[in-house]
Every structure is written in structure tokens, then in C-alpha cells.
């Protein structure tokens, strides 16, 4: 076998297939009823689900509404439920998907139109955990010193792109929207474990609230949903341990 033949996606003569895409449509400007509309789309194995949505909007139905921007998994605009699982539409390749797709908005946030949800409650929870560096005393002339090991301590939670895939996959968040949700805790973790930060006490106090970290039932939905591969459940566990340790 030649080296070229071993490089599949880039060189295989792409074969398109017809995919059935079933989408939850809702536009209160027209009707309060939810409609399910099915579209037939030609899809290549290298197509992302976002490409299919774009094709539908461009070629079949311009009214289909969804958010998107970077299209390669770093901006966090296009989190949605694809065949029952929260994913970024731009990170799901059709080669990994069956010929039938069901697409819905992420759950637990008010739907505004089609796949667009109101993100404000999500960002409100984020803002509530003081997601910024809190320091005291005189700042250094140059940079704060931090060892690479201390830097590595919170590396995982700096990857968050605030797409809400985790929070809207959490059963606790679905049943009680006042729970902060995993993303807010991830962003609190990012600062609590930053050696430069002195706001851990304030943040832990906020997360110790009845809507805080103790509501987590460790179902791991969030970790599975995270498109950035953050070990969210582990981060939440570390925050819980910090609270317990603090109380000892």
C-alpha cells in the first residue's frame, strides 16, 4: 500500500449521499406551534453538519435560522442538539453520522427562533462567579511570576469557549434553570486554581450557594458534551473538594 492511499480524507474521491435532516422549527412571529421539517441534502463524508445547515439555508429555505461564525470549533456559536447529543455543528463530520439527522436547539434556554436560543441566562450565571483575575497589593513591575506547573494546574479550564453545550446537557439545569450550571463552575475553577488569583474565597462562597456546586449530580453529561475536551466533572469535583477542605 502506498503512503498516499493511507491518507483517506484528503484524497479519497468523495462520494456524496442523500441525508435526511429533520429540524425543529419555531418562529413565534408566525406561529406558537413547533414544526418539524425534513430536508433532503446531498452530503459528502467531509461535510460538517454546519455545511448541511448552510446548504439548506442557501438552496432550499432561507428562513432557517441558526448562529455560526468561525466554522471550526473555536467561537462557540453553533452548539445544538444533533441526534440527541449536544455538539458544535461545525465539529461533527458526516462520515461519522448516519443518513438521518435530527437537529434541535440546545435545551434549557428559551428558544427565540429555530435553533437560536436566548443566551442571556447562560452569560448571567457566568458573570455571577466573578470570572476575572482578582489580585491584591501592588502589581509587579513586569509580569506576575508563575511556574509552568502552577500554570498547568488550571490549563484545562482555560479552554472553555462559552458555547453552553455542557450547561444545556445537564439534567439539573433542565429542571431548575437557576442552577449556575457546569460552564460557570468551569470558569470559576479557571481562577480558583490560578496561583496569581486571590478571589477564591469570594467565588467559593458564591458556589456554596444552594444554586451552586452542590446541585451537581455527577452525571458526566457535561464532560461528554464539551467540544473542547475539558474534564468538566473533574473540575466540578475539585471545586467541591476546595469547599470541603476550606471548611475543615
Amino acid at each position: 500500500m502506498t503512503a498516499v492511499a493511507e491518507r483517506p480524507a484528503a484524497v479519497e474521491a468523495p462520494k456524496a449521499r442523500t441525508v435526511e435532516v429533520r429540524i425543529r422549527r419555531y418562529n413565534p412571529e408566525i406561529s406558537d406551534e413547533v414544526r418539524w421539517v425534513t430536508y433532503q441534502v446531498q452530503a459528502y463524508p467531509t461535510d460538517r453538519v454546519l455545511n448541511l445547515l448552510t446548504k439548506i439555508k442557501d438552496e432550499q429555505d432561507g428562513t432557517l435560522t441558526f448562529r455560526r461564525s468561525c466554522a471550526h470549533g473555536v467561537c462557540g456559536s453553533d452548539a445544538m442538539r444533533i441526534n440527541g447529543v449536544n455538539r458544535l455543528a461545525c465539529k461533527v463530520l458526516m462520515k461519522d453520522m448516519p443518513a438521518k439527522l435530527t437537529i434541535e436547539p440546545i435545551k434549557g434556554l428559551p428558544v427565540e427562533k429555530d435553533l437560536v436560543v436566548d443566551m442571556e441566562p447562560f452569560f448571567e450565571a457566568y458573570r455571577a462567579v466573578k470570572p476575572f483575575l482578582i489580585t491584591g497589593g501592588n502589581p509587579p513591575t513586569k509580569e506576575w511570576l508563575q511556574s509552568q506547573a502552577d500554570r498547568d494546574r488550571y490549563d484545562d479550564t482555560t479552554k472553555c469557549i462559552l458555547c453552553a453545550a455542557c450547561t444545556t446537557s445537564c439534567p439539573v439545569f433542565w429542571t431548575d434553570g437557576s442552577y449556575f450550571g457546569p460552564a460557570a463552575i468551569v470558569n470559576a475553577h479557571r481562577f480558583i486554581f490560578d496561583s496569581r488569583d486571590q478571589g477564591a474565597e469570594e467565588r467559593l462562597e458564591i458556589l456554596n450557594d444552594r444554586e451552586g456546586v452542590w446541585r451537581c449530580r455527577t452525571t458526566f453529561n457535561c464532560t461528554e458534551a464539551c467540544p473542547r475536551g475539558i474534564e468538566i466533572t473533574k473540575a466540578i469535583k475539585e471545586v467541591k473538594q476546595a469547599l470541603l477542605f476550606r471548611r475543615v
Binding site: A10, C70, K113, L133
Partner: protein
């Protein structure tokens, strides 16, 4: 229609806009208008780093950085502006660190630095470690850090507000000053007039004029387009950067940091071809040179793959721990989108449209110029939308993250200073009218043309005719294509007639800006009969300092045609030399 009054209105919430907001919002009533949510901006896609001569890991100084920037820009850089940027780079990085940015660290706990294309020690002797970085998601960390600090400072955002017009009003002495902007609210379809003493444009670039691009769907040049339609000039629009290492066929960016960490470009014969084109710094030559070298390898039949239409980025000799620690995101892109495992296989890459060196002309205070010398009082621009010009005809890697921080900060300070010294200007009569008419026309159009068809044809002809290599013939062809597409655009119609989250309507508006800016790019490119930096003419292979050591200034005429003029380049320390690496 609603009317709002602020001291400072900032348009765009990427790095430049939020950096400006941090300066202005603690001194003046500031609003930030963004067509996305702040953390969705394309600053977050930047990977490799932000250069500053901290000298944390080896000898370095900001004068060397300035020289590299000037030479990298093929001497079309305004040297006073480059000096400002490279000198202030050091504080810009330290400011971000104090705001919380998690830079990678040296063993001594200082900010770590690595090599990057075109950044050298002592005026070109050898690559230097100048890029401060956070793995390969430096832009993400800058965007998050700036947003975090905006949250801390209570900055007021208007999310998903599309600014579609700039308002100018005559002052008592007759000079036109900025008086606000008109925005369309995506959620409701309502038009909002923002009356302001200062307006800062920080809307980013317009890479979506090309098909193969690293740019987000949303980078449609709205800020430049709005300025253009007001009869204000655009500078150096022919200079567009094609980043060498886009994933082949997709355009998704693989950071130059890969080569900074030691990755090598190879042709189908396995040859490290950059040794022939840039013997001293090889794979770390500036982007324009590497992109042309790659395109040349493919053209001469040494491309890899079944169609011989790409080259290979080889990381297989790098230790896996180094790849995992320093380049985790981009190796995941290769796995996800091409199914290639960078540990063991070289990654197919080809140049991708990446960055506009040109834009809205400004001075070093980020004030927008109305001609070669006079400013529009109260109007500022920073970041990719602006042309200071610190990038000249080719931007060095990492200098964009630097640009947004240095000039975003300067724009915020200047806008606040100005706002504190003037009264709120009167709004022009029927301020919202132009936007209202445009929206109504699109909603009621009965034409038969579709947005996606025209956009696709524009992107195809731009890729075919105005990409890495250009000729009089190819540029004439794309100009004729654009003229026809503009006629068809007048007949464009949309199917969504609603007011609620009408993204189809806004795609139609954005297409109008793309067509305008593509035309300015092509007309400016046809007029520059030389090869310099990102503008490579096959019919004029050499740089021609005698005739073209000057900036292009393009103006929209009342009849819609384009008038071209020139602006002198500011030279301080460095005389133009042949550009060898």
C-alpha cells in the same frame, strides 16, 4: 426606531474593540455594539502568539522588532507607526498578563517566548524567540481575558446589533465630525440610532470575499464598507495576506507556530523546498514568501496528493509531548477535518486568504483620515479594519494580536479624550433613513437572484483571479465579473420577510459590502504594476520603489466609480533594501 446617547460608541467586540472599551468605559459613557456575542469574535481563532521584545529567553529589543516589521512589510510600512507598535508591545503583553492571561511560562516563571516567521535577531541574522503565547490558542486567551475584564469593569454591550451606517454631521466650522451610528437589532428587526461624541470602528476584516479563507463567516468587512459608502477613503486594499498553512481544500488555519516549533514544509519529493527560496530562515520566512513558494511548487508539478495541488507540513519528527503541549488545537484540527494524524503523517496544506493589510486609514492616534492629512474628528479605527499602516504590504505573524492591543488601547484613550472635550454633535436629519431604506428594499424585493449564488460566484472568481498570483488579465476578468455581480445584486431577493432574527436579510446586506470591497481590492491591485509583499504580479515581477513606494488611497465617487490616489510612506530609520531571508 430607538435613539440612544453615549459619549463613546465602539463598533465590534473582538480584541481591538474590547481593548478600547477597557480604556474608555471607566472615563466616559461607553457602549460596545457587536454583531455577534463578544466571545465569538475571530480574535479567538488566532493561534500562535503575540510578539514583544521582552527578552525573557534570549537577547532582543524593540528596535529589532521594528526592523523586522518594516522589512516584513516590504518597506511599505509607516515606520513611525511600527516604532510605536513595537515599543508599546512590551507593556501590551505585560498588561494582558496582569489582566490574567495565562501565558506559557519559562522555568523561571516568566512569560515564555518562541520563534515566529520573519522575527529575527539583529536585523535578520537568525530567528529569535519573540512570540509570547498560550499554547496554540493565544487569540482565544486574549479574547477571553479582555471579555473577563470587560465583565469586571461592567462594560455595556449591545449584542447582535449590526451597525450598517455611520453618521457624520457638520461642525460649526463646517468640518464633518462623527456623530454616531445606525444599527439593526437582529432579535427584533428594530433600527437603533446611537448618537455619540466618538465612534471607534473595530469590525475586523473581509476575508469572505475569497472562497478559501481562514476567516469566519461573519468577516464581511461591514465596517470598511460603511466608511466607504460615506465617501471616506480605503488604503492599500490590494494587499491581502494568504497564510501559507491552511488545511488543504478547507482553508482552516494551522498556525505558523507549528513551524516555529520546528515543523517543515515538504513537496511531493519530500524536499524541504523553503531552503531554496529563503536559505537563511527557511520555513520561518514571512508569509507572503512562503505562500508564493508553495504555490510555485504546486505550479511546477511538485505538489503532493492525487491532484498534486497541495504541499505537506511535516511534524512527524517533533516529540509527541512537544506537539501535545504546544500545538494541541491545530493537530486536532488536522485530525478532525482531514482525518490526518500529525504524529505520524504529514498534513496537507495550501495558502488560505487570511488578513487584510489595508483598510480605513488612520494615524498613530487611531484617528480616521479623510484624505492624506486631515482627520474626521471623533472617528477612530483599530485592528484589521484599520490601516495605520504597521503591516505595509505583508503582515508578520503575531503582529495582528499586537496591533489590536496597542492600537485598540490608543483608540479607546483617544476616543475618551475627545468625548470629554466636546458637546454631543447634532444628528443629521432622518439619521436612520439610509438603513431603513436598505432594509425595506431587501424585504420587499421581488427579484430572482439569490444571496448564496452571487456570493459563491464572487468567491470563486476572487480565488481564481486575485489570489497569490495576479496578472492584468486575471484582474481585468475579476473586475468584469464583479461589475456583473453588482448588477445582479440589485435583483437579489430573500425568502425570510420577518423581523425576528432575520439572518438571511443580514447575509444579503453583508454581500453588498463584500461586493464593494472586492471591487476596491481589484481596482487597487490593477493600478499597482509591481510585486510587493502580499501583492504578486506575474506581469510585473519586481518591486518598483521608484514608482510605487507609496500607499494606495481609494475613494468612492458620487456615481459609484472608484478614484485612486497615493499617500507617501513614512520612513524614519530604514532605507528600503532588497528583501532576502
Amino acid at each position: 426606531m430607538q435613539t440612544h446617547r453615549y459619549d463613546v460608541v465602539i463598533v465590534g467586540a473582538g480584541g481591538a474593540g474590547m481593548r478600547a472599551a477597557l480604556e474608555s468605559s471607566n472615563r466616559t459613557r461607553t457602549a460596545v455594539l457587536t454583531k455577534l456575542y463578544p466571545t465569538r469574535s475571530h480574535t479567538g481563532a488566532a493561534q500562535g502568539g503575540m510578539c514583544a521584545a521582552l527578552a525573557n529567553v534570549e537577547e532582543d529589543n524593540w528596535e529589532w522588532h521594528t526592523f523586522d516589521t518594516v522589512k516584513g512589510g516590504d518597506y511599505l510600512v509607516d515606520q513611525d507607526a511600527a516604532e510605536v507598535m513595537c515599543r508599546e508591545a512590551i507593556d501590551a503583553v505585560l498588561d494582558l498578563e496582569k489582566m490574567g492571561l495565562p501565558f506559557n511560562r519559562t522555568p523561571a516563571g516568566r512569560i515564555d517566548q518562541r520563534r515566529f516567521g520573519g522575527h529575527t535577531r539583529n536585523h535578520g541574522e537568525a530567528p529569535v524567540r519573540r512570540s509570547c503565547y498560550a499554547a496554540d490558542r493565544t487569540g482565544h486567551m486574549i479574547l477571553q481575558t479582555l471579555y473577563q475584564n470587560c465583565v469586571k469593569q461592567g462594560v455595556e454591550f449591545y449584542n447582535e446589533f449590526y451597525v450598517l451606517d455611520l453618521l457624520l454631521s457638520p461642525r460649526a466650522d463646517g468640518v464633518e465630525v462623527a456623530s454616531g451610528v445606525v444599527a439593526y437589532e437582529l432579535a427584533t428587526g428594530e433600527i437603533h440610532v446611537f448618537q455619540a461624541k466618538s465612534v471607534v470602528l473595530a469590525t475586523g476584516g473581509f476575508g469572505k470575499v475569497f472562497k478559501t479563507t481562514s476567516n469566519a463567516h461573519t468577516l464581511t468587512g461591514d465596517g470598511m464598507g460603511v466608511v466607504w459608502r460615506k465617501g471616506l477613503p480605503l488604503e492599500d486594499m490590494e494587499f491581502f495576506q494568504f497564510h501559507p498553512t491552511g488545511l488543504a481544500g478547507l482553508g482552516i488555519l494551522l498556525s505558523e507556530a507549528a513551524r516555529g516549533e520546528g515543523a517543515i514544509l515538504r513537496n511531493s519529493e519530500g524536499e524541504r523546498f523553503m531552503e531554496r527560496y529563503a536559505p537563511t530562515i527557511k520555513d520561518l520566512a514571512p508569509r507572503d514568501i512562503v505562500a508564493r513558494s508553495m504555490a510555485n511548487e504546486v505550479r511546477e508539478g511538485r505538489g503532493a496528493g492525487p491532484h498534486k495541488d497541495y504541499v505537506l507540513l511535516d511534524l512527524t519528527h517533533l516529540p509527541r509531548e512537544q506537539i501535545d503541549a504546544k500545538l494541541p488545537d491545530i493537530t486536532e484540527f488536522a485530525r478532525t477535518y482531514l482525518g490526518v494524524e500529525p504524529y505520524t503523517e504529514p498534513v496537507p496544506v495550501y495558502p488560505t486568504a487570511h488578513y487584510a493589510m489595508g483598510g480605513v486609514p488612520t494615524n498613530v492616534e487611531a484617528e480616521v483620515l479623510r484624505n492624506n492629512t486631515d482627520v474626521v474628528p471623533g472617528l477612530y479605527a483599530a485592528g484589521e479594519v484599520a490601516c495605520v499602516s504597521v503591516h505595509g504590504s505583508n503582515r508578520l505573524g503575531t503582529n495582528s494580536l499586537l496591533d489590536i492591543n496597542v492600537f485598540g488601547r490608543r483608540a479607546g484613550i483617544a476616543a475618551a479624550d475627545h468625548a470629554l472635550g466636546v458637546e454631543l454633535p447634532e444628528l443629521p436629519a432622518a439619521a436612520e433613513q439610509q438603513v431603513a431604506t436598505m432594509v425595506r428594499r431587501l424585504l420587499t424585493s421581488t427579484g430572482t437572484e439569490r444571496v448564496a449564488v452571487i456570493r459563491g460566484e464572487l468567491q470563486n472568481t476572487m480565488d481564481r483571479n486575485a489570489q497569490v498570483f495576479r496578472t492584468e488579465e486575471s484582474l481585468a476578468e475579476v473586475q468584469a465579473d464583479i461589475a456583473k455581480l453588482k448588477e445582479r445584486y440589485a435583483e437579489v431577493a430573500i425568502s425570510d420577510k420577518g423581523r425576528r432574527y432575520n439572518s438571511e436579510l443580514l447575509e444579503a446586506v453583508e454581500l453588498g459590502f463584500l461586493l464593494d470591497l472586492a471591487e476596491v481590492l481589484v481596482v487597487s491591485a490593477r493600478n499597482r504594476k509591481e510585486s510587493r509583499g502580499g501583492h504578486a504580479r506575474e506581469d510585473y515581477l519586481e518591486r518598483d520603489d521608484e514608482n510605487y513606494m507609496k500607499h494606495t488611497m481609494a475613494y468612492r465617487q458620487a456615481d459609484g466609480s472608484i478614484a485612486l490616489d497615493w499617500k507617501p510612506v513614512v520612513q524614519t530609520r530604514y532605507q528600503p533594501m532588497a528583501r532576502k531571508y
